[in-house]
Structures are given as structure tokens and as C-alpha cells.
């Protein structure tokens, strides 16, 4: 039984890897290339969700700025693709990506230069976000900014990047963003079905690695320190730990994961734009994790896929209803299901429901939870 439980995720992964593309090819059960591409996007969003879970679910720091790193990864890969592709759709008369023509730019801005190289670009996808996360994180954590202040500052940083990318037409095509669907990669047009299946499979191959990285970080004593930071950071200081490097490391890893996520998402959606840095996008990432189950590593993956699948279904049926559904989801999860779906099953929510209906036996909890007033008061202080 235990072995079976361990195998389940790998079986699902193999199913998604081999069977789904085949189904999409033969349009089995109404599954189409379009759907496959959507699922590829959902899975690529699972990376950023894992990062959010590390920083929020484990360490207790709610970052509302993951969109920065997500977009940077997307821009990195898009810039490379735009540079190396030479066809009528993407290349302008002066040999540069086409949008430069609109603003009369003849010289490539300097920071585009490294992106001629494929290896450099691939490394930049996670290094650039990581470095920026490290820089921003160090500045914030050094000053012991935490709690809601951390959230607000990360949101403000997000706005800095958003307005910068939005306002700089001559550098990154401003609000229009960079289109990758007409570019070429590995000899394929990025928007073609073959390329999309490839991206889908790359996403699925990389996902276990991201998962294992997070597992490595959270399961040992390092992970214990993260939980300790979440529970009572000052107390950890008095034990001789300096929380700052821990937090910076986690923020860097979360940033790198977001970058990879953004790159995979960009090639599969065909565009990267400052909209990825909107306030709403970054908060949504948090709700994927919350819905799936924070503080677990399976939860964010489940959450990212499920919520986005739900989004597609609702938006296709009744576009206006999505914001209502999403808003209700936020409220519902926070108030009634704080452990998320996965946590609800694994942390006793499910059994207590069965018990309420008299189907399962009530499990005795010992020792009883403590309701000491002074303890409650202490934890009430933020």
C-alpha cells in the first residue's frame, strides 16, 4: 500500500507524458491539441507554485512579487528566440526583432546581446531571477522586514518592474510584450503542434526535478529551520540562528523556480508581456498554493493545475463568472479550508467530515489542544 502510494505520482506523470500527447493527436475523448497545450501551461505554473510554497507555506513569508521572477524568466527565453529566429514574421528590415522598427531603434540595446547564445539564455532563465531575488531579498530581510510589510514591499517591487517593462517600448516593446509564437526553436516553429508537444514533455521532465529540489530543502534540518522561522523567528535568533541567510536562500530558490516557470509558460502561451507582472497574477499564484495545500509539496502542483483548469472551464462557459468564482475561492480556502485540498485529505479534514456523518470513527486526539489564555494572547500578537 505504501509502495503504491509512492508510485501514484510517477504513474500519473508517465500517463501525462506518454498518453496525453497521443490522445491529443487522435482527438480521443474530445481531448485536443489545444487542451494539451493548456495542460502544459498549467504544469509549467506548478513550478512557480512550488516556489511560493517554499517561501510562504514553509517559511511564512507571503511574497506578492513572484510575478517579477516569473516574467524575467519569460523575457529571457523570449529575447533569445526573437534574436535567433530569422523569418518574415519576427525579423524586421534591419535584422533586429520586428518591434524595434516601430520605435525606430536600429541598435540592439546592450542587455539583449548575451541572449544570442542559447546556453547563456537557458542559464539566464533561472540565474537572472535568482540574482534579483537574492538582491531584493537581502535588502528586505537584512532590515528584518517581515509579515505584511514584506508582502507590501514585494508588491511595490513588482510595481517597479511592471511599470518599467510597461513604459519601455524601445527596450522591450512596452505593454505589447514579446511574441514567441512565430519564432523558431530546434528547427520547429514555436507555435506549431510538434513544438508544443515537445514543450509539454520538457515541462513534465523538469517538474520532478523541481519537486525533488524542494523536497531536499524542506525535509532535513534546513527545512526545520524554515518552519521554525515561520513559527517564531525571534525565538530562533535567541538560539543563535541568523534567519537572514535562510530566508535569502529560500527566496533565491523560489525566484529561480519562478523564472523556469515563466520561460516554460511563455513558450507555451506564445507571448510574454508586463501583464505577467500585474498585481493579480502574483496573488493568484498564492491562491494556487492555498487551494492545493500549503506546507506540502504535492499541494502546490495540484493547486496550480486544478485552479487553472477550473479557470479555463469557467472562462470558456461564462467569462464573466470567473472573477466571482476566483474571489469566492480565495474567501473559501482562507476561511474554511486553510490546509487546502491535499492538506484536507492528509491532515484529518476528510476523516472528520466522514466522522460527522457517522461513516468513520472519530479519532481521539491526545493530548488535548491547549487553550491557555496567555499562550493564545502571545500568539495573537503579530
Amino acid at each position: 500500500m505504501k509502495l503504491f502510494k509512492r508510485l501514484v505520482p510517477w504513474i500519473l506523470l508517465a500517463f501525462a507524458f506518454f498518453i496525453l500527447p497521443a490522445m491529443a493527436n487522435s482527438e480521443l475523448f474530445g481531448f485536443s491539441q489545444f487542451r494539451l497545450n493548456l495542460f502544459g501551461r498549467y504544469f509549467s505554473l506548478a513550478f512557480v507554485a512550488l516556489g511560493v510554497d517554499l517561501i510562504w507555506g514553509y517559511t511564512g513569508l507571503l511574497s506578492l512579487g513572484q510575478g517579477i521572477f516569473f516574467s524575467l524568466g519569460g523575457y529571457a527565453i523570449a529575447m533569445h528566440l526573437l534574436l535567433v529566429t530569422k523569418n518574415d514574421f519576427t525579423t524586421g528590415a534591419n535584422g533586429l526583432p520586428k518591434f524595434f522598427e516601430n520605435y525606430g531603434v536600429d541598435n540592439l540595446p546592450f542587455f539583449w546581446e548575451p541572449f544570442w547564445s542559447f546556453p547563456v539564455s537557458i542559464i539566464a532563465v533561472f540565474i537572472v531571477p535568482s540574482v534579483i531575488a537574492g538582491f531584493v531579498g537581502y535588502l528586505i530581510f537584512r532590515n528584518r522586514i517581515k509579515g505584511v510589510y514584506f508582502s507590501i514591499i514585494t508588491q511595490a517591487s513588482l510595481m517597479v518592474f511592471y511599470h518599467f517593462f510597461n513604459g519601455q517600448q524601445k527596450l522591450v516593446n512596452g505593454t505589447n510584450g514579446l511574441k514567441t509564437s512565430t519564432t523558431e526553436i530546434f528547427g520547429l516553429v514555436a507555435g506549431s503542434d510538434e513544438a508544443q508537444i515537445l514543450f509539454f514533455r520538457i515541462t513534465l521532465i523538469l517538474l520532478p526535478f523541481a519537486y525533488l529540489l524542494c523536497k531536499y530543502l524542506t525535509s532535513g534540518r534546513f527545512g526545520d529551520s524554515l518552519v521554525a522561522i515561520r513559527d517564531d523567528e525571534p525565538r530562533l535568533r535567541f538560539s543563535g540562528f541568523n534567519p537572514t541567510p535562510f530566508k535569502v536562500i529560500v527566496f533565491v530558490v523560489a525566484g529561480g523556480l519562478a523564472g523556469i516557470s515563466g520561460a516554460l509558460y511563455t513558450v507555451q502561451s506564445g507571448i510574454v508581456s508586463p501583464q505577467f507582472m500585474s498585481i493579480s497574477m502574483s496573488i493568484e499564484m498564492v491562491i494556487w498554493v492555498a487551494v492545493g495545500g500549503r506546507g506540502t509539496l504535492v499541494g502546490p502542483i495540484i493547486g496550480a493545475v486544478l485552479v487553472n483548469y477550473l479557470r479555463s472551464l469557467v472562462s470558456e462557459a461564462l467569462p464573466e463568472a470567473w472573477l466571482f468564482v476566483q474571489g469566492a475561492l480565495f474567501v473559501f480556502v482562507v476561511v474554511l479550508m486553510p490546509d487546502g485540498i491535499y492538506g484536507w485529505f492528509t491532515k484529518g479534514g476528510f476523516t472528520s467530515m466522514l466522522a460527522a456523518f457517522g461513516i468513520a470513527k472519530k479519532t481521539a486526539t491526545y493530548p488535548k489542544l491547549d487553550f491557555d489564555e496567555s499562550v493564545q494572547e502571545e500568539s495573537f500578537k503579530v
Binding site: F238, P367, E378
Partner: protein
């Protein structure tokens, strides 16, 4: 005369003009056990805050083994061998009892070491010994948040023992404990003294008597008097601050 391990010299702390400590002098010698009492608002907790680096004194010097520690961060002071238990038991609620202890017992506290090395078997044995001693062994795999108040107190003290600092500062270690537990705590603390230097802040006079250590009385941020519990109890000034009247008439 032995060199003092901790030396507070004319320390004052003011919050917006309100003085929590005023020109406090305080010396502590290695291996000593010292009790501190005083009415509410006497500055007992602020006194600990100053030693552990949580609060920076407005004026004065704090020296640990002759080295000035003012302005150092909490973690640096802690690594120099000062451990503290808070007024309410603060434990990491989402970690198991064992992991709480292992984390504080860890001799290396850098992220890299925690990622790559596992805890030495010596330290792990020590953790088990402590858990056995305080009776938390059956709860080793239980989340600390689900312990009772008394058990959390024990765990908080155990974490200090596991951390094994030279100076152990205990802020109200027996608040909310039963009589049995209280006397057991007194035993534990007495056994710690000698190898460690221990400072205990308590309101429970029975417990202070059990400890049988020299007592320092704080009042309005100043040291009122020092001596054995019996001496202190006879001091008219102490009676005045505790009961609000003098024996003069």
C-alpha cells in the same frame, strides 16, 4: 577574586522618556545561580532583553567575559553563550518535540551546514537523554503545538539545556506548573548551576526558596537590594515595594 562572566555597568533603558532600567549595576560570576525578584514593572524582562541584545541600552555598558556586547545582534550574543527562556513558553509549534530539541542542540547554525550535514550522534544522544529526564520522550514525535502548557514549559527549558549555553536566563520557568513539576524544575535548575551560570526570574517565592540562591530585588528599574532570601525578606524597603507600606510607624 574571580573574573565576572557578565557585567552590567550603569545600564539605563528608556522608552520615549520612560525609564525601564535606571543606572543598573549587575555582576554575575561563572557557575553562579542567581534569582531575581521584583514587583510587576520592575524591569525584570527588560533586564533580560538588554543582556540578550533584544533591546539596546540608552546608556551604560554590558560586558560578556570582558567583551562589550552592546549593539550585537541576538544571534551573535546567543552564539557567545547566552541562552534565554521567555516568559510564556515559546517553542516551534509545527515541529515535533524531538526536532525542536535537535534544532537548538545543533552546534552549527549556518544554512549550508544544516543542508549538508546531519546531527552528530553525540548531540542526538544528548537530546534523547534530555527528553528522558524531563519525561517528554513519549511525545518525541508529537508536534510541539499540541503539548499542554506545562509540557511546553518543560520543552522550552529542555531546549535551553540542549543548546547548553554558558549563561542560562530563565524568565518565569514555573509559571503554570503544578507543585510537583515546580519542585522538579528547581532540582533541574540546581543541577545546571555550576557547569552553567543560571539566572532565574520568578514570582513564586516557594520556588525561590527551593533554589536557595542569592536573590536580587529589582524595583522601578533599579537594584533595591541583594542577599539571601531571608535577608531580603526582612529588608523594610522590600516589604514596602511589595506591600506598599513601611514598618516605621
Amino acid at each position: 577574586m574571580q573574573n565576572s562572566i557578565l557585567d552590567l555597568d550603569q545600564v539605563s533603558v528608556s522608552f520615549d522618556g520612560f525609564y525601564a532600567l535606571t543606572d543598573l549595576d549587575f555582576k554575575l560570576y561563572p557557575g553562579e545561580l542567581r534569582s531575581i525578584i521584583g514587583p510587576n514593572g520592575a524591569g525584570k524582562t527588560t533586564f533580560l532583553d538588554v543582556i540578550t541584545g533584544k533591546v539596546k541600552p540608552t546608556k551604560g555598558n554590558v560586558k560578556l567575559r570582558g567583551k562589550n556586547i552592546i549593539g550585537l545582534s541576538e544571534q551573535k550574543i546567543s552564539r557567545m553563550g547566552v541562552g534565554r527562556k521567555f516568559q510564556t513558553p515559546r517553542v516551534f509549534e509545527n515541529l515535533t518535540v524531538q526536532r525542536n530539541l535537535e534544532l537548538t542542540a545543533s552546534p552549527t547554525k549556518t544554512p549550508w551546514a544544516l543542508l549538508t550535514k546531519s546531527l552528530s550522534s553525540v548531540a542526538r544522544d544528548e537530546v534523547f537523554k534530555i527528553m528522558e529526564y524531563v519525561g517528554l520522550a513519549p511525545y518525541a514525535k508529537l508536534q510541539a503545538g499540541s503539548l499542554s502548557h506545562g509540557q511546553k514549559q518543560w520543552l522550552a527549558i529542555s531546549m535551553l539545556v540542549a543548546q547548553s549555553p554558558d549563561i542560562i536566563l530563565l524568565d518565569e520557568p514555573v509559571a503554570g506548573l503544578t507543585d510537583d513539576e515546580t519542585s522538579k524544575t528547581a532540582e533541574l535548575i540546581k543541577s545546571l548551576a555550576g557547569e552553567h551560570t543560571v539566572v532565574v526570574i520568578e514570582h513564586d517565592m516557594e520556588f525561590i526558596r527551593d533554589l536557595g540562591a542569592p536573590v536580587t530585588v529589582l524595583h522601578q528599574g533599579q537594584k533595591l537590594t541583594e542577599g539571601s532570601l531571608e535577608e531580603v525578606k526582612r529588608d523594610p524597603r522590600v516589604i514596602e515595594v511589595y506591600l506598599g507600606q513601611t514598618d516605621e510607624n
